[in-house]
Amino acid sequence: MSDKKITIEVDGQTLSADPGQMLIEVTDEAGIYIPRFCYHKKLSVAANCRMCLVEMENGRKPMPACATPVGDGNKFFTRSKAAIAAQRATMEFLLINHPLDCPICDQGGECELQDLAMGYGRGISRYTESKRAVEDKYLGPLVSTDMTRCIHCTRCVRFGQEIAGIQELGTIGRGENMEIAPYIEKTVDHELSGNIIDLCPVGALNNKPFRFRARSWEMRQAELVSPHDAFGSHLYGHVWRGKVMRVVPRDSESLNETWISDRDRYSCEGLYSDERLTEPMIRQDGEWRTTDWATALGVAASGIRKTVSDDPSQAGLLAAPWSTAEELYLIKLLSRSLGVANLDHRLRQTDFSAQQDDAAYPGLEIAIADIDTQDALLMLGCRPRTEVPMFAHRVRKAVRNGARVMIVNEQDDDYLFARHAHLVGPDLSGQIAALCQAAQANVSGELQSLVHNATVSDAHRQMVKALQEAEKGSVFLGHAAARHPQWSVIRSLASALAQACAASLNCMGEAANSAGAAMLGVLPHRDEGGREAVQTGKNVSQMFADPLKAYLLFGFEAENDCASAAQAVETLAAANHVVCVSSYLTEAMQSYANVILPLGSFVESAGTFVNCEGRWQSYTGAGSPLGEARPGWKILRVLGNTLECEGFDFNSAEEVLTAAQQAVGEVALRNVFTTAGSAGHSDAPDSGASPGLYTSDPVVRRSRPLQEVGHTAASPPLQATA
């Protein structure tokens, strides 16, 4: 395409366009609406619905705007008599076999077919013959089907082929007998499958758990940010009578484009689980009972105060990395004013031996949007579809743009994109050492012998060559690497490798707010903004290995979310005083806690997550807290007040956020790691629970539809084994 612009005229309006651009792209940009069903800006052009017909000057017949490349001087008429006649005729044909069951269809009110039928349809049908009916297909627990409503636009088919990387749906049969189906009925279990619901312009594919729950016009739309991974996809929560009924994507071209993962879409099904805790609870004489906030906070505070006044090093504070920045900042304040240095959020990490070498936050040196345009990507200890589904999508785009993707993993995966080179097997650090040798990377200290002794194979040389040849090369360290007992060795080697190949080094944060937690100093060795802490406390693994007297656990379940879960539960059970702030009540929690405070879910409060690009993303919250549950920042504020801590007089989440951002200041990310730590020896008792796609955090685990998806079966069991 040359960069010379051409001029066309649409409905008398002069527009400039790139030669060869499709008319519908030009008119969309100019805000001239042309009706369409099969065209979608993120999918290839199929031109099969014919709804977009327009008149072209000197054209012999109406032209489909989605498949008509514009030429200089072309004149189009989108509302002329001929154009409207063509559009109306198409609409009449489309409605011939459509059931017109809008009153009982979930798509009603947000249906492209319904909307366009209002504009282009007739009030009366001339069709008196019998309509065809199509059997519904079973596509699994997430997507419901009413296939008689399908208009064969093939958006869902193209989505599989072009976006998901695996085509599961197809067009079976022909002519009047054509149906959209997986040939052999099976569940569609791709991690982005829910997007076909939004793509389907009619009510053929719908959100199954949401079925018949509410009408689209009855709900209020609230902006949310995904709490489930480090990308922080933009979401909308649709709220009806104070509860989130469903979640849909909020367009954000530089993050999630128009898509969201199934985890982001369906985790809301876990919000109102039976396990939700709706009242504060305390244990008295071995018995659990519900109580009011004042009593519960009193018990919580007195236990903490007692331990801290004896010896602050006997208390520990642990927060989930999916807590909001507001919550994390208040936890940092709490630890500071109590003088408690034992503070951490890295629940699934196992190697802390080089933590002084940590970057300002776990993050990417390149922008998420730039992943698509990399020439070479080397992923180390990374299973993108499980860790960050949207990352897998970006990598697929990069592959489609010609990138060479290379993977070194201990555990294999079904990646759904083509790999240039691929190594699977134990000894991740040994493999990276071999890459370093092949790249003649500069390493120091004990790493030298590791690199020197590594055996280099052709695959290693191939990877290094691709990375060195790339104009834009990047190395990614995934969750599997970050949870690895040799994390410090792995990242130092990766750092040397990236430098030798002039590639960027990118660390995929564990959770939605790992970056925020690091910036805010919810760490034993750092303060806000990455400043060294005056006194270094114990990390999460030490807190469980050397028992403390009192613990505050915020927003997670020790038995499910920690690397050394079994040890954690045992240690907590033996402690004098354990305060849990949690949205859910679990049996294990009742075995180790003394006080459990009901935490509002992420949708029930305003909050901020810092994504792996270091982007602070705030949302206002949707829905009201369930029962007596309260937003985390309020709980912490009152706890701070009860403990008579200084500086807890915040009146709103925004005030907390402003203070938090001031405390952090400017942070720059430089992923350079040189310290190998205790070379390969981790002080953690086991290798760390690596959760599956749908067991990654408390909300996701309680989403029943997600638990039913075939994908979870292949994931490791829910609890770490003892």
């Binding site: 082929q161 990387g165 695996i166 085509q167 599961e168 749906l169 197809g170 067009t171 079976i172 049969g173 022909r174 997986p182 040939y183 052999i184 592959v399 079904d414 990646y415 759904l416 994109f417 083509a418 790999r419």
Partner: protein, 170 residues
């Protein structure tokens, strides 16, 4: 895009000669366009499986060509020459399109139905004949009415001629 990077690798339930024939077709298309060989592949596989395809065979074709299985099903379900259910060995298709219809195709169809004791779309219980449901113009209108028996055209038919042809089938 599938994970296997070498088309044609691994064990296959496809016979060696079938694979050789598929390879011949794949070679006619540019590298990476092996999807274009799917019709030829299915025709070959069907030919070696008594005139019909099974899910297993279609999956084997998908695997052999390294394309998603659904793309093979789509083609098999689209073309009327592919059968995806077991059918009789000898396939009989009477053209019922306009020229043949005007020259008495419908009569021929009912004659055959009566003779074989089956309806269009069915196979005889002995597994010998399969009468195809609907056959569109086979481009032999000059010799209408016509039918195709195991890929061989028979033209200017009368019920007597039909009897003769079908009785001669082994």
């Amino acid at each position: 895009m599938s994970d296997t990077t070498h088309p044609g690798s691994g064990e296959s339930i496809l016979a060696a000669e079938t694979r050789a024939e598929i390879d011949r077709w794949v070679a006619k298309f540019p590298a990476g366009r092996q999807r274009s060989a799917v019709i030829a592949a299915l025709r070959e596989v069907q030919h070696h499986n008594h005139g019909y395809l099974t899910d297993e065979l279609m999956n084997a074709v998908a695997e052999y060509l390294d394309i998603p299985a659904i793309q093979v099903y789509e083609v098999a379900a689209f073309y009327s020459m592919f059968e995806t259910k077991p059918v009789g060995r000898c396939s009989v298709s009477v053209c019922t399109n306009i020229s043949c219809m005007l020259c008495g195709a419908d009569e021929l169809v009912s004659h055959i139905e009566k003779k074989l004791g089956i309806k269009t779309g069915e196979s005889t219980p002995d597994g010998k004949f399969f009468l195809k449901r609907e056959e569109e113009c086979l481009a032999a209108c000059v010799g209408a009415p016509m039918m195709m028996v195991d890929h061989v055209y028979h033209e200017n038919l009368t019920p007597a001629k039909v009897d003769e042809i079908l009785d001669a089938v082994e």
